[in-house]
């Protein structure tokens, strides 16, 4: 990429007026603005910034899909099978119990769901996730995750930004800060908001002290997937004429005051914005996908939440195809307050699992069949786990437990069928190969070709990194 002096390549009036006036397609305005500017004004970042030469080494993953399980999936009801809980169901815990969010700790509670082993590795899955279980051999399961915070917001900020307070750059921001986007017309970091914004709000997806360029663009289902993406003019030509006029006037400003980078790049942003007006709706339009594909993702499910999450998973694949770096999916609103089942564990977890199970399995299979899984890292994680003992109540639930939870990785650079780390026999604390959020981040960055120690940004007098001063790559789940 070579930035070219914009002023010296300004277009003639005649060129301006040859503008096609038929419709809104990106071709319509292509050539309206200086083509060299359109090169400058993209989401694509050549080379790397923020920590020398990025990638630091050849990456395995081009994109990450982060399946955020809002509220905290219960590990002992999903992937971390604990027979002892059945035996001691209803008894007082024999272990010492940490302070919890609701301080209403009851007896040990066995899982409502049966566990079975799947795949060559014999990975355990409860029957909450029958579809994902069929992908066992593509999945590396970490059963020894732990967090530092028993409250949602801190735990969410920690999971998303590597530090438990508001206002720091999100992992997606760090990744795009380092790598940019592969696509000129789409932001590098996209959040597909399926209905629920995590506690702590949109700050989970922000750029923090990094430039605003690296914040997530939040896409929502519906006619207007992105804020301000839909022109309000009645016809396309009305907006096109405005853009044309603006361009003339802006160029005359540059003529007057000379080359000013700040103004030139503002001008070029309009080119990209204009293109996004068509590229974003096109992206969000799933009607071109085959019936088989749609069905794979559960778009024909009777469960409307499954349909909506399926559409998001499909959209995630389309984003991956278009070179978007980091995609996070938030949970659908199934009416049970995310995975956060302080009460009503059975109904809540079933509704949540049913909404996401088939779409996620569909996503893994679809990526694999298209050859995309080898360059796409898929991560499934909540912000913490849940207690193996009940939270008291008529319909018991489980309270927050940062001491143990299960996270799985699949795809680029991941060794399928690996089960990594262990919790104690109740699933309460991670005890073997304990894996922190920093380790998760370090591993994720590693697979994208970024050395988490080297990627830093100077803020408030410190060179700050996503992993603070911690983090180790979890080599045990990586393909050799």
């Amino acid at each position: 990429m070579s930035p070219i002096n914009y002023c010296k390549h300004r277009m003639s009036r005649r060129e301006m007026l040859t503008l096609s006036r038929n419709g809104f397609g990106s071709l319509a305005l292509f050539g309206l603005l200086n083509p060299s500017v359109s090169q400058a004004a993209t989401y694509k970042v050549a080379g790397g910034i923020g920590g020398g030469q990025i990638p630091h080494f050849p990456p395995k993953a081009k994109s990450v899909i982060f399946l955020y399980m809002d509220g905290g999936v219960s590990q002992v009801d999903s992937f971390d099978y604990k027979p002892l809980l059945e035996k001691e169901n209803g008894k007082d815990p024999k272990f010492s119990v940490d302070a919890t969010q609701f301080n209403s700790n009851g007896k040990l509670l066995k899982s409502y769901w049966d566990f079975k082993q799947y795949g060559d590795s014999g990975m355990w899955f409860s029957n909450l996730f029958p579809h994902i279980a069929t992908c066992a051999d593509d999945i590396a399961m970490i059963n020894s995750m732990y967090s530092e915070f028993p409250e949602h917001t801190n735990a969410n900020y920690y999971l998303h930004t590597g530090i438990g307070i508001q206002g720091r750059p999100s992992m997606g921001a760090w990744v795009t800060y380092g790598l940019g986007s592969e696509n000129e017309q789409l932001p590098g970091y996209v959040v597909l908001n399926g209905g629920l914004t995590p506690p702590g709000g949109l700050d989970n997806f922000k750029n923090g002290f990094l430039p605003a360029t690296y914040q997530a663009s939040v896409l929502r289902p519906g006619d207007t997937p992105l804020a301000n993406i839909t022109p309000l003019e009645e016809t396309s030509i009305l907006q096109a004429e405005k853009l044309k006029f603006m361009n003339i006037m802006d160029q005359s400003l540059l003529n007057r005051i000379g080359d000013v980078d700040q103004i030139e790049s503002t001008i070029s942003n309009y080119e990209l914005a204009f293109k996004m007006q068509s590229s974003i709706p096109e992206l969000a339009d799933l009607s071109g996908e085959t019936a088989a594909t749609q069905s794979l993702y559960g778009l024909d499910s009777e469960d409307k939440h499954c349909r909506s999450y399926g559409a998001q998973c499909l959209l995630a694949r389309r984003l991956v195809e278009r070179g978007v770096r980091f995609i996070e999916l938030t949970c659908p609103n199934v009416g049970h307050d995310r995975w956060d089942q302080h009460a009503n564990l059975k109904e809540g977890h079933e509704a949540n699992a049913h909404a996401v199970d088939q779409p996620i399995a569909g996503l893994l299979k679809d990526l694999k069949s298209r050859g995309l899984l080898e360059s796409t890292l898929v991560v499934f994680s909540g912000e913490f786990g849940r207690t193996p003992f009940a939270q008291k109540g008529k319909k018991p639930g489980r309270d927050h437990n940062p001491q143990a939870f299960s996270t799985w990785f699949a795809g680029a650079g991941i060794k399928g069928g690996v089960i990594y780390g262990k919790t104690d026999e109740y699933g309460y604390r991670a005890i073997e190969n304990r894996t922190s959020i920093h380790d998760l981040h370090a591993t994720m960055l590693h697979l994208m070709g970024i050395d988490h120690v080297k990627q830093t940004y100077r803020f408030g007098g410190r060179d700050i990194r996503l992993t603070d001063v911690h983090g180790h790559v979890v080599h045990g789940i990586l393909d050799a």
């Binding site: 070579s2 930035p3 002096n5 006036r21 080379g47 020398g52 030469q53 940490d98 302070a99 969010q101 609701f102 409250e151 917001t153 801190n154 307070i165 508001q166 206002g167 914004t197 995590p198 506690p199 702590g200 709000g201 949109l202 700050d203 922000k206 430039p211 605003a212 360029t213 914040q215 929502r220 804020a227 301000n228 993406i229 030509i237 009305l238 004429e241 405005k242 044309k244 603006m246 003339i248 006037m249 802006d250 005359s252 400003l253 005051i257 000379g258 000013v260 980078d261 700040q262 503002t266 001008i267 942003n269 309009y270 990209l272 914005a273 204009f274 996004m276 408030g460 007098g461 410190r462």
Partner: protein, 1017 residues
């Protein structure tokens, strides 16, 4: 290919070389400065490359070698030799190490991933050759007036500024740009001073003023306008992470945060001297020279302390100690960055790696904030109304005196026998069956029946100087005088509805519950654990009780979750509802005692037996009455007087007292004030231990005394150790020998005027910050600022009077070649306006700006994309009623997208310097946001309402509003052409649509989207 392209290729090439692990063989000799300066050239290298292992922090120090201090760097090392030998590079082991390629010997070591560049090595060599002169970090040395001949002539500040700028330009063969035209200047000045574009009237006034003082008069008008305070208050709000909600899960309200915003606007408009302003922030509740609002007569100073409470916070931390340490960490970070541009918070876990800031400095500040309590206070209560309290006390004293006379007369005519009967009657009334004796199962926290505060702290006037002692009060309904009683703390010591707080010394929770015997209406009893205030379910809802019953009751606070924690009890009139404080005219709280207990206990039902004044029968009545009249009676004496009065004067509403009763009745209503803010009060001094590795549950044995930052030798000789020490800390800030305070502030002003500070890192003057581009100018301004009485307006005016400021923004090619980043200011830097200025400018152009000042914030307009917990139930209007952006609510989890898109910072820490980003979301917003379209439509209607205006006149009006100038001929032509094309696109013609707002809206909308509109030239 242009210059930028070449530079880029050069950089890429360099990086490629680096990646390949070797350096090009270049002679750096010609490139090095004539004299290598320690501060400018050497310390940055040592700091960047060496300090992590050879710096200030002993915990990570290697080989017992320090390179951050001269004594260390030039000392004889354990194994012989010296790292640095003055004048001798061959003997300097440092040079040997950094030039070695033996991985076991070389420095920095390979695993540090740091690489010393050839230029850095060359600089170090040259510096050692030149004698290795060591200098203190410039920022930690009190500025000296530069020795410049010009300054002997006592020039105006603006002339001096130009001198320093020109001098630096000349040294680099640069020249100052031509002066900008008047239209550009007024727009620049207006936006910088007020954040708004000039009105057409302001523009015309200036353009028509042909006097020599036209420019200065124009400056004066803007400096005097209300918009000035609104603009500069917003700059300050970025520093103190101003927010009106707490973020996190519930995004709960920060009660009346906007009172602080209004305080700032008033303070900047009144040009409060900066030293006073600083004192008010840290100790506005303690300073003796308080500032009275000239219009409404209330005490402004205390409101400054509200800044401390504006951070984020969560509602149910499982560990309150951890939450406290995070909140105080944020206070330390914000306070040290804002006032000193130092990153003290880096010393939380270990001594600062780069700056001379030991961990003990951090924990000295920690103790200061840990000793500070945050309480509701009246915000805008006129001081002269407070003087009514004295009048009221005088009336009460008079009543006591008259009642005393009556009692004394009666005493004369009563036999001792009868007196004794009266007293015994009273004693007999006390029902002992319902009392319970204090024993080891109870921990007494306070028993106000003893008649004094027992070391408790009061804030505000409500609780007076001691618990109630048989005073009288007016019953609101009957307007009759009645006895208030005695032997309890009461917030109606003066009257109902009076602001005030009574809070206990710190104690450790070692029981399960706390029982508080209280009565009242709209009163609050609560316990503050580890300074945690966001009291509510699920975990901490039991820490407070609303007292809403005039009869005595025992309120039980459940502190089982807080065992072992530090706590204090707090009583106040008024209450918090969803974290918003409210006080009504009849609110009060009375408290007799508070005890802690465990498990089931009779104290829930029974009353604690009085531990005192059992000697009532032995009290001498005459003296008791006399002492009581003087307000000096002991509790036994008070009780005795009460008993006699009950017997002899059951109704005090006698004709003799009717005057006083009327006076009291009137005065009682004058002390109520509905306004409030959350500000600081003093509590018990806490000297914090150092937290080992920053961990709140791993404490060192020794406690750190309160003190100022050790690198700065300013402030009082002996730092007070009682209380929080905030006042002394603040005095150390504004001590003229403090090397940072003045420099930091003048640099912030410079930053806002030129878009870049003399020190670019405005929030970091430490070793990792940038060096000043014009050190002499910075020192000169810092000294002048203090000499001129710390006047912010005064300094801004001088800067704006300078030729430096008045330069055009057009750079000459020669200058740009030499100084592409305009470090030396050879032209005025073009920059994008801030988010608020863009929005306010749009409203102003459209004629929709409502200049109403102050008051509660306008609720944020919610879009479908603004989701999440704590989402306000009601969305504000799209245009926020046309109010300036500063009056819009700053809810942490719901910051208006337009503001965030244009880089308004998320308020989590100090942001002295905003980012300026370019993202398509900005273009999309200006193109497609309904607010922008709506304003374009209003503007069009506004333009069409101008009577009999020609096309040309309309276009000129639009240009004047948007760009403070008339359209050029070409612009006129382009405008008409656009209108024609657009009319055609509407399927019509310009002739047909020339008075249609449909068409003009399109034009106005395009104007909003022109780059000239959102940039300052």
């Amino acid at each position: 290919m242009n210059r930028r392209g070449l530079t880029l290729i050069a950089i890429i090439g360099l990086i490629a070389y680096l990646a390949m692990g070797f350096w090009p063989d270049v002679d750096y000799g010609h490139d090095l400065p004539k004299t290598v300066d320690f501060n400018y050239h050497i310390r940055p290298i040592l700091s960047q490359q060496c300090f992590v292992c050879h710096g200030n922090d002993p915990s990570s120090r290697e080989a017992d070698l320090r390179l951050d201090i001269e004594d260390g760097a030039k000392a004889r090392l354990g194994h012989g030799g010296k790292a640095i030998v003055e004048g001798n590079i061959n003997k300097s082991l440092l040079i040997e190490r950094i030039t070695s390629d033996d991985p076991k010997f070389m420095m920095p070591p390979p695993d540090s991933k740091k690489v010393m560049s050839p230029r850095e090595i060359a600089l170090l060599k040259k510096w050692i050759k030149q004698g290795a002169e060591w200098k203190e970090q410039w920022a930690f040395v009190t500025p000296q007036l530069p020795k410049v001949p010009l300054l002997n002539n006592n020039p105006s500040v603006s002339v001096a500024i130009d001198y320093f700028i020109n001098d630096a330009l000349e040294q680099k063969d640069l020249s100052i740009a031509d002066q900008a035209d008047r239209n550009t200047l007024i727009r620049r000045v207006s936006y910088i001073l007020t954040g708004l574009p000039p009105t057409i009237e302001e523009l015309d006034t200036y353009l028509n003023d042909e006097s020599d003082s036209a420019y200065e008069s124009m400056l004066d008008r803007y400096l005097a306008s209300s918009g000035y305070g609104e603009r500069w208050a917003r700059h300050w709000m970025d520093l103190v992470r101003y927010g009106e909600s707490m973020g996190h899960e519930g995004d709960f309200n920060i009660s009346n945060a906007w009172e602080y915003r209004d305080y700032l606007i008033r303070a900047f408009n009144q040009d409060v001297p900066y030293d006073q302003f600083v004192l008010e922030h840290l100790a506005g509740d303690q300073i003796t020279e308080t500032r009275i609002n000239p219009q409404d007569g209330y005490n402004e100073s205390a409101i400054g302390t509200a800044y401390l409470f504006l951070g984020d916070g969560k509602h149910s931390p499982v560990n309150t100690r951890e939450e406290e340490s995070d909140k105080i960490d944020n206070m330390i970070e914000v306070t040290s960055k804002t006032f000193q541009a130092l990153t003290v918070s880096c010393s939380r876990c270990h001594d600062h790696k780069f700056d001379p800031i030991p961990t003990a400095d951090y924990y000295a500040m920690y103790g200061m904030f840990e000793s500070t309590r945050l309480v509701p206070k009246p915000a805008r209560m006129p001081v002269n109304r407070l003087s009514k309290a004295d009048e009221l006390m005088a009336v009460k004293s008079k009543i006591r005196s008259k009642v005393g006379d009556l009692l004394l007369t009666q005493l004369e005519s009563t036999t001792q026998e009868d007196q004794r009967t009266a007293i015994q009657k009273y004693v007999a009334q006390i029902d002992k069956s319902q009392t319970i004796e204090l024993d080891t199962s109870l921990q007494l926290l306070a028993d106000f029946r003893a008649g004094d505060w027992e070391g408790w702290y009061t804030d505000g006037i409500a609780f007076g100087e001691h618990p109630a002692k048989g005073d009288f009060t007016i019953d609101k309904e009957s307007k009759k005088l009645q006895e208030l009683g005695s032997g309890f703390a009461t917030s109606r010591h003066l009257a109902l509805g009076v602001h005030g707080v009574l809070s206990s010394p710190n104690f450790t929770i070692n029981k399960e519950y706390i029982a508080v015997r209280a009565a009242g209406q709209g009163g609050t009893v609560r316990i503050v654990i580890d300074n945690f205030q966001v009291i509510q379910a699920p975990l901490w809802g039991q820490l407070k009780a609303n007292v809403d019953d005039p009869d005595w009751k025992t309120y039980i606070l459940d502190v089982r979750l807080a065992k072992g924690r530090k706590a204090y009890l707090e009583f106040f009139s008024g209450s918090f509802e969803r974290h918003v404080f409210d006080i009504q005219p009849d609110d009060y709280v009375d408290v007799q005692y508070a005890v802690a207990f465990s498990g089931e206990h009779d104290i829930k039902e029974k009353i604690l037996a009085e531990q005192y004044h059992k000697e009532i029968l032995t009290v001498e009545p005459r003296k008791a009455i006399e002492d009581w009249v003087r307000g000096e009676s002991s509790m036994d004496q008070t009780k005795l007087v009460g008993a006699l009065r009950q017997e002899w004067l059951p109704d005090v509403n006698t004709a003799q007292l009717s005057n006083e009763i009327n006076q009291l009745s009137t005065l009682s209503t004058e002390l109520y004030d509905s306004t409030h803010f959350i500000g600081m009060m003093e509590g018990e001094a806490i000297h914090s231990p150092v937290f080992n590795r920053g961990s709140f549950d791993d404490l060192s044995d020794e406690n750190v005394p309160h003190r100022f930052l050790s690198v700065v030798s300013a402030g009082p000789d002996s730092f007070p150790q009682d209380g929080s020490g905030r006042l002394a800390w603040a005095e150390s800030l504004v001590d003229p020998t403090n090397p940072l305070t003045s420099r930091v502030m003048v640099n912030r002003i410079w930053h806002h005027v030129f878009g870049k500070g003399i020190v670019e890192t405005v929030d970091n003057f430490g070793l990792q910050g940038k060096m000043p581009t014009h050190p002499d100018l910075l020192n000169y301004l810092a000294i002048t600022f203090i000499e001129e009485g710390w006047s912010i307006k005064g300094l801004i005016k001088q800067v704006l009077l300078s030729e430096t400021f008045k330069q055009s923004s057009i750079a000459s090619e020669e200058n740009t070649e030499t100084d592409p980043n305009n470090e030396m200011l050879h032209h005025y830097p073009v920059r994008r306006l801030e988010a608020e200025a863009i929005r306010d400018g749009i409203l102003a152009a459209a004629g929709c700006l409502d200049r109403q000042m102050f008051g509660p914030s306008v609720p944020v307009h919610l879009t479908n994309f603004m989701t999440g917990r704590g989402r306000p139930r009601v969305s504000g209007p799209l245009d926020s009623y046309g109010r300036r952006s500063i009056y819009r609510s700053v809810r942490r989890n719901f910051i208006p997208p337009l503001m965030q898109t244009f880089d308004m910072p998320i308020p989590f820490s100090t942001f002295g310097k905003r980012n300026t980003t370019n993202v398509p979301a900005q273009s999309l917003a200006l193109l497609n946001d309904p607010f922008i379209h709506e304003q374009a439509e209003y503007w069009a209607q506004n333009i069409l309402s101008l009577e009999s205006a020609s096309l040309e006149e309309r276009i000129n009006t639009i240009y004047k509003r948007a760009f403070s100038r008339e359209a050029t001929q070409d612009e006129q032509r382009q405008a008409v052409q656009f209108l024609e094309l657009q009319a055609a696109a509407h399927g019509s013609s310009l002739e047909q649509l020339k008075d249609s707002d449909l068409l003009w809206k399109d034009y106005c909308h395009s104007i909003f989207n022109l780059k000239e509109f959102i940039h300052l030239l």
